[in-house]
Amino acid sequence: MTEKISIPVVTKILDANSRIASEIRHHFQHHQVLAFNMISSPGSGKTTLLETVLPILKKRGIHSGVIAADIATTADADRLAKHHIPVIQITTESFGGACHLEAAPVRQALENFPIDGLDFLFIENVGNLVCPAEFDVGESLRMVMLSVTEGEDKPLKYPLAFHVSQFAVISKVDLIPYLQFSKEKLYDSIKKVNPTIHCFEVSCTKDIGIESLVDWFIELNHKKDEYLYHQHTHPSGSSHSHGHSHSH
């Protein structure tokens, strides 16, 4: 008679993804490119932020490229290309309409993307505050974005995205007077999830807070090696306190 047996396996499910992410990280180290994984809901203003900030960074001598991911269309890449920003679009439709980026399509995109001469690479993830938080795509830093119209409780509803990010950009702050929105509640929510995260408040249309954010990016560029060679996007999320901290 056959007996039931239990066989230990102990395999991390995301190991294969982590191995590819690790290769990508070495590629960035080799080319001295600091990569940012941008995570947010759809419509929080990731592309608008890049359209606003990247031309300013370029004037200050920092050259950036963008990998834009969406389920479908090349709309984001088209918008960024108008600003002469090197950009490649990944549509996850061909990867089963994935709601998030994994390391494999990023590696594939990089095969056709010359990154020599770039200082920064922004990986604009699929608009989604849940799934992208779980997948390492080889970035050095994670940036979470939240627009004020989404409500101040989102960090508590989607804690992982805020926990694994080193800095948060709160966008569309010019709209606060028209909303029932409490900044105090927002920061209470953020601090519960990640007490050491750096926060920036911006409005791209009204040019609020852009200068502080640009200064932060310039500071990151100065400390590039520190971020390139030490992974700060710990799965355990113990965010490190570095340099500039926004007061609120």
């Binding site: 039931k4 047996i5 230990p8 396996v9 395999t11 499910i13 995301l14 519960k192 990640n194 007490p195």
Partner: protein
């Protein structure tokens, strides 16, 4: 929705291990350990596993998920405790950041099979 991708990865892993002779053909149950601080909804993952297994040799298997609590240690007072709600501040001395000891797991722990 990324649970579909996770479920597919589990099935791929099983298939590879069966091919390599590391696991028998007669798998009945797959035991998964999932931390509470992952972006995984266990019911969604089970649902996607059941959808995706149909066309595979694992169509008769069941996925069992054991959830692991979020356990933290305070770097200042060294107290360890389970976080029942998301608030990464020490319950004892109100310091931060906390070291996350568990809660981010996502792995296949074991499989159950007939001994053939």
């Amino acid at each position: 929705m990324h649970e579909a991708s996770i479920a597919q990865t589990i099935l791929n892993e099983l298939e590879e291990r069966v091919l390599l002779g590391q696991l028998p053909n007669s798998i009945l149950k797959v035991n998964l350990r999932v931390g509470r601080f992952t972006a995984i909804v266990p019911d969604n993952l089970k649902f996607m596993y059941d959808v995706l297994k149909v066309e595979t040799q694992f169509s008769e298997t069941t996925l069992h998920i054991e959830e692991i609590p979020i356990r933290c240690r305070c770097n200042i007072c060294s107290n360890e405790f389970i976080l029942s709600e998301i608030d990464f501040v020490c319950k004892h001395c109100l310091s931060f950041p906390l070291e996350l000891l568990s809660g981010r797991e996502l792995f296949i722990d074991s499989v159950e099979a007939f001994d053939d």
